[in-house]
């Protein structure tokens, strides 16, 4: 057991899986000598060499498309997209190809691969270095989407993703890389895909969140506890397949549900969660399923005044919880 930062846990997870299975390769922009712009892959090129740690040209569609082919050819590619914002040029390869290969070939082919990408705002990244892009991919049957919030989960889930037989998108909140620390055991543990976790038990309001928002939700839960509001926080961890059971169990117990996400509100991932809860837990609801999410502007603005306005934070969640609790 050791205390690790979020990014260390990810790096360790990659390294250990590459050691375990020589078919696991790493490719992306600057992942080699530089070790990635966030240093997530620092040292791996020195350790595993040119063949298994590949600095690709600046071509995201190629990174994903080549990974699909390499996966068909027996490798287990981990593709790094430098920023989630730059995954868009690969949209066609992900949605038309990776997601559909198994279904369209009636299980003749599949593309087991992991696409890692740093996402999220609050780091002065502005419109194009702050995006949450999960909603585009959680909508696509055939893709799995994972967003961990702790070093423990990050490592355990990443292991599961690499061993999974389907394409998985693994989004890492870049603000958490060095600021989030936590216990990580030494052994070869995994965290299963498709399982949410109740990270803070409570009885009056369920808050559903993931990624950085899972931390902010915990903090908001602590703050309103002082006012006597008991909050249950569910950290989704895997966004697709969604662990409906854990979510619905919690809401059926508390009767109130706040869905928190950092992405633009309209049509964001939380809309699906809210709609599902509103439909399937209707008889249990004592208040409207409410969403606290990013404002509907085209990206997080740069200037810190505007960025602060944009970002969902514990205080904004607290306000949402209070309003819902008082309903």
């Amino acid at each position: 057991m050791a205390i690790k930062t979020f990014i260390e846990a990810i790096r360790d997870g990659i390294r250990e899986e590459m050691t375990r299975d020589e078919n696991v390769i790493l490719l992306g922009e600057d992942v080699g000598k530089k070790g990635g712009v966030f240093l997530a892959t620092d040292g791996l090129w020195a350790e595993f060499g040119d063949d298994r740690v590949i600095d690709t040209p600046l071509t995201e569609s190629q990174i994903i498309g080549t990974s699909i082919g390499a996966a068909i050819g027996g490798l287990r590619p981990i593709a790094e997209i430098q920023f989630a914002d730059f995954i868009h040029p690969a949209f066609n390869q992900l949605v038309s190809e990776a997601a559909r290969l198994r279904y369209r070939s009636n299980n003749g082919y599949s593309a087991p691969m992991v696409v890692r990408a740093p996402y999220g705002g609050g780091v002065h990244g502005a419109l194009y270095h702050s995006q949450s892009v999960e909603a585009f991919y959680t909508h696509v049957p055939g893709l799995k989407v994972v967003i961990p919030s702790t070093p423990y989960d990050a490592k355990g889930l990443l292991r599961s993703c690499i061993r999974d037989d389907d394409p998985v998108l693994f989004f890492e909140h870049k603000k958490m890389y060095r600021s989030v620390r936590g216990d990580v055991p030494d052994g070869e543990y995994t965290v299963p895909l498709g399982k949410a976790q109740v990270t803070h038990p409570g009885s009056q309001v369920t808050v559903i969140a993931y990624g950085l928002m899972a931390h902010y939700a915990l903090e908001a839960a602590d703050r309103v506890a002082e006012d006597g509001i008991s909050v249950e926080v569910v950290d989704l961890r895997t966004l697709r397949p969604l662990d409906k059971e854990t979510v619905l169990d919690s809401v059926r117990k508390t009767g109130k549900c706040l869905v928190v996400y950092e992405d633009n509100r309209f049509g964001g991932y939380g809309a699906e969660v809210a709609a599902t809860v509103a439909e399937e837990a209707f008889d249990y609801l004592d208040g409207p399923v409410t969403r606290i999410a990013g404002p509907d502007v085209p990206g997080v603005p740069y200037n810190h005044v505007l960025e602060d306005w944009f970002m969902v934070n514990p205080e904004k969640i607290v306000a949402g919880i209070r309003k819902l609790a008082a309903y």
Binding site: N23, I25, D51, R52, I54, T56, P57, T59, S61, Q62, I64, G65, T66, S67, I68, G69, A70, A71, I72, G73, G74, L75, P77, P89, N92, Q93, S96, E97, R100, L101, R102, Y103, R104, S105, N106, N107, G108, Y109, S110, P141, G142, K144, D164, D165, D166, G194, P241, L242, D243, K244, E245
Partner: protein, 402 residues
């Protein structure tokens, strides 16, 4: 041999070491194909494949006109290039990522007429997709034929990825892909050629240039009008071949494949072919191609050309032709009968293989699979006029392209 080399990489012209078991010819004299290491049996089998592909294709159109299958996308005019190129690969070892006109490629690489025909009928047993994809979207894991999708050019990157895997895993495999000249303008082609060339991957890119992308002619598709010329920009060889010349296509592919297998990197082959049919059964090509042009293009038909070549060389005797013709006729008949009799997919399988496993939270729709009483599944959804706004059963567009 109608191969005009426009090689940019110096390594491309030296005789490449062959990893295949076919003998390399010592000279260009001797019987037809001997300089390429092709035996009489090889040539007859190549002819059989060209003619078989054509026969299967023609049957598809007949079935379409008879209302048996709703859609055809054809390889007519491309067969010579496809058989010539695919013949140079090692069947069962190498990889091919084909496109929707690749009937002859797939037949050469191991798929059967039944496999092709069940795809037209979209039967449960269709090995390409189990009836899930439109006809033309072939694929076979058994035969190393990558599953075809519709968005053009995406498969190039998959072939490049297969080549990367082959290089890293040291399997000695080559990955080859093909597409039309219009498709070659997609961004993925640029990105893939660049990556393959940087890493000297065992990869071959074949462009089957038929002069049209649906209705848009070459001059409006390909600036410079030559795809082969683009190879030099990546430092790799690019050649243009007469795609109705089966042996020229074979020769060009053999060179490129040997180069790839030797670790010298990718090549580009542009085969000039003709599209003898409309783009698909939904297309009226007379709207954009003149009668004269269509007539003139018939002279580029690879089937009579290859036949005449083999007859002239004394290889395709009338006895052989008769034998092959009869076998093809029987095979096409068998494939049609077989496909006609195969059942449709069972709707209860419709949610299978979204993922490797079934996920409890990926739930079926409220109407289940038509086998329970949640809601009846309409046998044929032909809504009658609603509010003066009729939605006809034949809403399928007359001109739906591919």
């Amino acid at each position: 041999m109608a191969v005009s080399e426009r090689s940019a990489a110096s390594g491309s012209k030296k005789p490449a070491a062959s990893a295949s078991k076919k003998p390399l010819a010592a000279s260009s004299k001797g019987p037809l194909g001997a300089d390429l290491g092709l035996t009489t049996e090889d040539l007859l089998e190549m002819y059989r494949l060209v003619a078989l592909a054509r026969a299967v294709d023609e049957r598809m159109w007949i079935l379409n006109r008879a209302g048996r299958i709703p859609f055809v996308i054809s390889g007519q005019g491309h067969e010579g290039a496809q058989v010539g190129v695919a013949w140079a690969l090692e069947k069962g070892k190498d990889w091919v990522a084909p496109f929707y006109r690749s009937i002859a490629t797939c037949l050469t690489f191991g798929m059967s007429p039944r496999d092709i025909m069940t795809a037209q009928y979209a039967t449960a047993s269709d090995p390409s997709s189990g009836g899930r994809q439109m006809p033309g979207h072939y694929g076979s894991h058994e035969h190393n034929i990558v599953s075809v999708s519709s968005p053009v050019a995406t498969q190039l990157l998959h072939a490049v990825g297969l080549a990367l895997a082959a290089k890293i895993r040291k399997t000695g495999q080559v990955a080859l892909t093909m597409m039309g000249e219009g498709s070659s303008n997609q961004g993925d082609v640029h990105e893939g050629l660049n990556f393959a060339a940087i890493h000297k991957l065992p990869f071959v890119f074949v462009v089957e240039n038929n002069g049209y992308a649906i209705s848009v002619p070459l001059a409006r598709q390909v600036a410079g009008s030559s795809v082969a010329l683009r190879a030099a920009g990546y430092g790799i060889p690019g050649v243009t071949v007469d795609g109705s010349d089966v042996l020229a296509c074979y020769a060009a592919a053999r060179t490129a494949i040997a180069r790839a297998r030797a670790g010298e990197g990718p090549s580009l082959i542009e085969c000039k072919v003709t599209r003898l049919t409309g783009h698909s059964s939904d297309d009226q090509q007379t709207k954009y191609r003149s009668a004269e042009e269509l007539l003139a293009d018939k002279s580029l038909d690879p089937v009579p050309k290859f036949r005449a070549q083999l007859v002239k060389a004394g290889i395709l005797t009338s006895e052989a032709e008769e034998r092959i013709g009869a076998a093809i006729k029987a095979a096409v008949h068998d494939a049609t009968e077989f496909a006609e009799a195969q059942p449709d997919p069972d709707p209860s399988t419709a949610m299978k293989w979204v993922y490797a496993e079934d996920w409890p939270s990926e739930t079926p729709p409220p109407w289940g699979f038509g086998d329970d009483d949640v809601a009846p599944v309409a046998d044929a959804v032909d809504p009658s006029p609603a509010d003066g706004v009729p939605v006809a059963a034949d809403g399928a567009p007359a001109e739906a392209g591919h």
